[in-house]
């Protein structure tokens, strides 16, 4: 799918902006603070009903205005579709082709944009919570049952932890954990199964992309490290009761899962250079894009905010080739020469809330 037209009214630093986008790579360049990120954020808002950083709506309203409106025309499976959102008097309304949508969830799935940002590298360099989060977001968006199992697992986990405290305060009996453990394992088994399958798919996708793009990764591998293996969750949870009561928390389970990236047999979080980590994260995101494509039957719109930082020129050249193969990429950078001019379909000069479209880089 690709976005044909984007219109912003009183959104962040835009008073009124009407932008025609092209297929292929659309490059937005301008100084820091000129509004590039805000523009990309508008596409996120219209896709998911929230901004990338989940800011409250009042923070999205342009200074001295009372509301904002964003609308987008995009082509999906050969058909034009219009989505718009209006926010005023603390109320939001979503519209699809002049028809009002009842819930925010009706909006989600119409237009899919996948935001890439410099923070993506956290998936490798930061803790297991960031990795689980990335995996959970991906799985939840392609599998509704996963989302429900995850929510219910988390709720059941909170119940179990509350029960541990009650047992320590002698308000409940140890035997009461049995049924919570059974429910945790019911939801948990499904989560672990799906995570395991997804890691396999991601590994295959990244390996394929690495070969295609001739990246200098030798022997790339990914390993899922579940805290508890499939089939043993219920049993291990009960066995952990003594330890869990001491720490007043559920010490093992899918909420402690992790996965590792390997390059040349070594853990990439410890041994890969910052540049290699960035590239690997980029590939991880592209692998996700393929999964969205397989799921929806069509590529999503790729939205990249300054994600080329810390990549060397030869790596950027390899990524350029790959990026031209997607229906549409929106790319924001403070540097108008971040990628080769010849592969860019449209340049947009962004400054102080104004956007000027050029066929050439000026």
């Amino acid at each position: 799918m690709f976005i044909k037209h984007l219109h912003l009214k009183n959104f962040r630093n835009y008073e009124n902006a009407s932008i025609d986008l092209d297929r292929g790579i659309n490059l937005f360049f301008g100084e820091n603070g000129s509004g590039k990120t805000n523009l990309l954020d508008a596409t996120h808002y219209i896709s998911y009903g929230k901004s990338v950083r989940n800011s409250p709506e009042d923070e999205l309203v342009r200074f001295s205005s009372t509301g904002f409106a964003v609308s987008v025309v995009f082509e999906k499976k050969g058909e034009d579709c219009t989505l718009s959102v209006k926010y005023s008097d603390r109320k939001k309304e979503f519209w699809k082709n002049e028809m009002k949508l009842e819930k925010k969830s009706d909006l989600i799935g119409e237009l899919t944009v996948i935001p890439f940002s410099p923070e993506d590298a956290d998936v490798i360099s930061q803790g297991s919570a960031q990795r689980r989060r990335a995996l959970d977001i991906l799985l939840s968006s392609v599998d509704g049952e996963y989302l429900k199992s995850l929510r219910w697992y988390n709720k059941t986990l909170r119940q179990r932890n509350a029960l541990l405290e009650r047992i320590r305060n002698k308000e409940s009996l140890e035997t009461e954990t049995v049924h919570w453990d059974k429910m945790l394992s019911l939801y948990g088994e499904y989560i672990v199964h799906e995570r395991g399958k997804m890691i396999e798919i991601l590994r295959d996708n990244i390996s394929r992309l690495a070969a295609e793009m001739e990246t200098p990764f030798e022997n790339f591998d990914m390993e899922y490290r579940p805290s508890l293996k499939r089939g043993e969750i219920a049993e291990k949870m009960s066995a952990n009761l003594g330890r869990d009561l001491k720490s007043l928390t559920t010490t093992q389970g899918p909420h402690r899962d992790d996965f590792v990236f390997y390059i040349n047999g070594q853990d990439a979080s410890k041994f890969a250079s910052r540049g290699q980590q960035r590239l690997l994260c980029f590939m991880f995101r592209l692998a996700e894009v393929d999964i969205y494509r397989d799921n929806a039957g069509e590529y999503p719109v790729i939205v990249i905010d300054e994600a080329f930082i810390e990549l060397d020129k030869s790596t950027v050249l390899k990524l350029e080739d790959k990026l031209t193969s997607y229906p549409q990429v929106l790319l924001a950078s403070a540097d108008g020469n971040v990628i080769s001019e010849k592969i860019v379909s449209a340049f947009f000069n962004v400054s102080g809330g104004y956007v000027e479209k050029n066929k050439k880089n000026k």
Binding site: E145, W152, K155, T156, Q159, L163
Partner: protein, 194 residues
């Protein structure tokens, strides 16, 4: 008074304000009537000694009704769930109101629910089937599991409410989980499609 009302389920500040202004506009008569009924609410309301449901005497009209099937008990979380099941006019067995679902976060363990009484009823001999109609939530499911385990000591069939496609619902509008469950619980077409 607005604040008290706003703390009730289903009421917010706006609707509470409307109620208070309504009472003021209607004059003292309406307010007195309401106050009288509130005063006697607890005095005149009883909980059925058998099923735990709300009643105007010690035994509720369902438990007392000789035409009801006394071999089936439907276990619900609360009184409202019972009213809704009853309003279908389809179920002819008895009920048992648990008074909630297991939820350590809210300080609710088995001792806070009417479980001992339920076991007493099931153990009394006449009961063949126990239908567990707790909500399909983590808490309702855990409660169902807990009850099913307790029931395994008795010679009763334990069932759970079926989950599936709502009547009048369009398949394309349903969530996948519901469709999956209704496929699992599909039934053979006999005389009628419905």
């Amino acid at each position: 008074m607005i604040e008290i009302l706003a703390s009730f389920p289903g009421l917010g500040k706006k609707s509470s304000r409307r109620i208070v202004f309504h009472l003021l506009e209607k004059g003292p008569q309406t307010a007195f009537k309401l106050a009288e009924s509130l005063k006697t609410l607890h005095e005149k309301t009883y909980f059925c000694l058998s099923c735990g449901s709300i009643s105007d005497r010690d035994e509720c009209h369902i438990c007392k009704d000789p035409s009801r099937d006394k071999t089936v008990i439907c276990v619900v979380e609360n009184f409202i769930d019972q009213i809704i099941l009853e309003s279908t006019n389809f179920y002819n067995g008895l009920y048992h109101v648990l008074g909630g679902a297991l939820s350590p976060l809210d300080g609710i363990g088995p001792e806070k629910l009417s479980i001992g009484k339920l076991l007493e009823r099931v153990g009394s001999g006449d009961v063949r089937e126990v239908i567990i109609a707790t909500n399909p939530s983590p808490e309702g499911n855990t409660t169902a599991l807990y009850l099913a385990d307790l029931m395994s000591d008795f010679r009763v069939t334990v069932t759970r409410l079926g989950r599936g496609i709502p009547v009048g619902g369009d398949i394309d509008l349903l969530d996948l989980e519901t469709i999956r469950l209704s496929l699992e619980g599909r039934i053979q077409i006999k005389k009628q499609v419905d």
